[in-house]
């Protein structure tokens, strides 16, 4: 089913997307006046985890959390009203066009530049890979500003000077090369340097992906456990081999530790703590856990684990993609390492949830 959907563009099921809209999930974190449900990070986390658990190819984190989140935080009332309502209704899918060839998870832009002429702005340059960038109806684009800094702009999918070449990703989702050639663009919100807002959006995205990863790891482990219980080799089921069971136990340990920190980072976001550092913490641990569980889920399955016909490998593929979209574990570890000398201990339970 998922394989069929991801084989043809746009890589997800438009009907399911509509259903998500009808269930109110696409407007979950937005104000009711913008068509949203006014829910918080915890509800978003639950949906992200479920997306991960069933490996849904629909771009929930990409459209709602990343692009939608930026619009919600930075956009003008008019922009919020228009774009978030359309997103919530399922009638328009936004994306955040930020990554550039040669950028590695930085909050700044350089390959796409913004030019002001009179009252209007145009963008030129290339963004890639842009999540579901060929399908997206509207793009939130980061661009280097003439006076320095990185701004955010809204570009319509049918704008002039916009060329989009989409393709399939390793996990069955879609990305695109998006070229801007003096493409008309509107500043998001009040314009100006938005590096901090981007850093924050990336952090919130890391937290959402951590929850999605926890869901994916959970299924990968459950599937593996089920396989060990039922698959026979040498006349007995695989769970008669203690060495394999112990590896499943270690996977469980990784999963539960990752789950704790993903939950916690969500609470930090909810309570207004240091979301950037919480995002790094969640990213670091879910990266380590995702690799551990993703690899061992395949290994414990044996040959069937590397086939496209069986599900477990697709979970590993998605975990691998999540691990590289907004920063890998080493990236997060380096950022945390740069600050370990600044405090004696971490107190995750105390306000403001450092």
């Amino acid at each position: 089913m998922r394989r069929k959907v991801t084989k043809t563009d746009p890589g997800f099921d438009e009907k399911v997307w509509t259903q998500l809209a009808e269930m109110g999930l696409l407007g979950l974190p937005f104000a009711e006046e913008h068509g949203g449900a006014g829910a918080g990070p915890v509800e978003v986390a639950i949906v992200a985890e479920e997306i991960g658990r069933v490996l849904a190819p629909e771009p929930f984190v990409e459209a709602v959390v990343l692009a939608g989140g930026l619009i919600n935080r930075v956009g003008s009332d008019a922009q919020k009203s228009e774009l978030l309502t359309a997103l919530s209704e399922g009638s328009s899918i936004p994306t955040f066009a930020h990554t550039e060839i040669g950028s590695r998870w930085t909050p700044t832009a350089s390959a796409v530049t913004a030019t002001e002429a009179g009252d209007s702005w145009t963008l030129s340059g290339v963004k890639e890979p842009v999540p579901h960038g060929a399908r997206a109806d509207v793009l939130v684009v980061s661009a280097a500003l003439p006076g320095g800094g990185t701004g955010l702009f809204v570009v319509n999918g049918d704008a002039s000077g916009l060329t989009r070449s989409g393709y399939r990703n390793i996990d069955g989702t879609r990305s695109a090369n998006v070229r801007f050639d003096s493409t008309p663009a509107a500043p998001l919100g009040e314009g100006g340097d938005q590096t901090d807002a981007i850093e924050r959006a990336l952090a919130v995205g890391r937290i959402a992906y951590s929850n999605e990863a926890v869901g994916a790891m959970d299924t990968a482990l459950r599937t593996t456990v089920e396989y060990l219980k039922t698959r026979k080799q040498f006349g007995v089921t695989l769970n008669k081999f203690q060495a394999l069971n112990f590896r499943a136990a270690d996977m469980y340990m990784s999963l539960e530790l990752a789950r704790s920190i993903a939950l916690w980072a969500t609470v930090v976001e909810m309570t207004g703590g240091d979301v950037v550092s919480a995002g790094d913490r969640a990213r670091l641990l879910t990266s380590r856990a995702g690799r551990h569980i993703g690899k061992d889920a395949i290994q414990l399955h044996g040959g069937i684990g590397v086939t496209a016909e069986y599900k477990v490998g697709h979970y590993t593929a998605r975990l691998t993609a999540i691990d590289h979209l907004l920063g890998d574990g080493d990236f997060a570890a380096d950022r945390l390492a740069a600050k370990v000398g600044d405090y004696p201990t971490v107190d995750p339970l105390g306000a403001p949830y450092a």
Binding site: D250, S260, L263
Partner: protein, 391 residues
């Protein structure tokens, strides 16, 4: 999803922190901070201070000194105590025999022992493990034979931690050798360590210290009234007791304190003029441990929140496993910070090797035990794969 403290719990934590850091003598806490073992006197002094304040046995029934705290409060109490380097109330008294007596003991036994146990007037030790029954506790061979009003005990125990300080021992013995299942036919007996026929041999550990012992029983005569609970039902009490043993085994507070120390040491230790704390490798190693410690603390809180009526949540095996690994990783980190100075473990006067570096390698080697005792990490993996995953 209780991953933040309420204002009440923040206040409770502050109260605990204040008590521990002001009421327990600094010289005792400093020993812990500097990775030295507390002496017998340190344990006694501390526990009596705590007991006087109602903080020695908060998890006991209220009538015997307990506080009726929530699991979260107990958790906070324990973590703050570790973080402040306070020697914890003797586990043999407060987590093991005390709760067993309160649950299984006769009224007479409760009256006789509980108050003194809470106040460390009696120092208890544990007689469970035997040379041929390590992780396989039920394989024990020590026997107790009834002779009139007495039990006559013969056999050998080992790994009896701090037995050399102990006044009394609680001990498992086989009272019905004909029982079908080896778990049946076991009883729990208690008796003074100076009972004739009891001898103790300290076992030297790799760090040069003596913290565990062999205990030999040769025709040790124990009055019948010293049998706890029902005869031949000692396995129930052992399971109850071992369940308690795993509580608090994550030792997040203690490891946090060690990691904070490691940071300081890495700041003071330089290589080519740069503090190790600024070396990407050390900084990253610290960051990884610290992050796992955060995850462990949060997991402990989840387990605490989900544990019903004192029964350990199966996920507490995760706490034991990861907790022991992280403790070991920090001791290893400190050895590496000490570098070439780490060999000088038994340096004496005349040496310039700082004290922390001297104790680093002995502690590292000693800490290999934390993945062995209290249910080895292999046993924890059996529990996780069997009980939790159903494998």
């Amino acid at each position: 999803m209780q991953l933040q403290l309420s204002p009440e719990m923040q206040a409770f934590r502050e109260e605990m922190r204040t008590f521990f850091t002001t009421q327990v003598p600094k010289e005792i806490r400093d020993k812990g901070a500097n990775r030295h073992h507390p002496t017998k006197d340190d344990f006694v002094t501390t526990q009596r201070i705590l007991n006087a304040a109602g903080l020695a046995v908060p998890h006991w029934p209220v009538e015997y000194g307990g506080r009726d705290w929530t699991p979260l409060q107990r958790h906070i109490y324990r973590e703050e105590m570790q973080l402040a380097h306070v020697p914890e109330p003797l586990a043999f008294n407060t987590s093991m025999i005390g709760p067993v007596l309160a649950q299984f003991g006769s009224q007479e036994q409760k009256d006789r022992f509980l108050a003194k146990t809470a106040n460390l007037d009696i120092w208890w030790c544990q007689g469970f493990s035997e040379p041929d029954a390590g992780s396989d506790l039920a394989g024990l061979r020590t026997v107790a034979v009834q002779d009139g009003d007495e039990w006559v005990v013969n056999g050998q125990k080992t790994w009896t931690t701090m037995g050399q300080h102990a006044d009394w021992i609680f001990c498992l013995a086989r009272t019905d050798p004909t029982a079908e299942k080896k778990q049946r036919g076991i009883s729990m007996l208690v008796f003074p360590m100076d009972t004739p026929g009891v001898t103790l041999r300290p076992i030297e550990l790799l760090d040069g210290g003596f913290e565990v012992n062999e205990v030999f029983f040769e025709d040790v005569r124990v009055p019948s009234e010293n049998l706890i609970g029902e005869v031949n039902k000692g396995w129930d009490q052992a399971k109850f007791l071992l369940g308690n043993e795993r509580v608090g085994i994550a030792r997040v507070g203690g490891t946090k304190g060690m990691l904070a120390l490691a940071k300081e040491l890495a700041r003071e230790t330089t290589y080519n003029g740069r503090p190790l704390l600024e070396d990407p490798r050390y900084a990253s190693r610290i960051a990884e441990i610290e992050n796992e410690l955060v995850a462990l603390e949060l997991t402990a809180l989840r387990v605490v929140a989900n544990s019903a009526d004192g029964k350990p949540h199966p996920a507490s095996s995760v706490l034991k496993l990861k907790g022991s690994v992280l403790q070991q990783e920090v001791t290893e980190l400190i050895v590496d910070i000490a570098g070439p100075l780490s060999v000088a473990s038994f340096a004496e006067e005349g040496s310039d090797v700082p004290d922390w570096a001297r104790v680093s390698a002995p502690e590292y080697l000693n800490y290999r035990k934390v993945s062995i005792y209290g249910g080895s990490n292999e046993v924890q993996r059996v529990i996780i794969s069997g009980t939790i995953l159903g494998l």
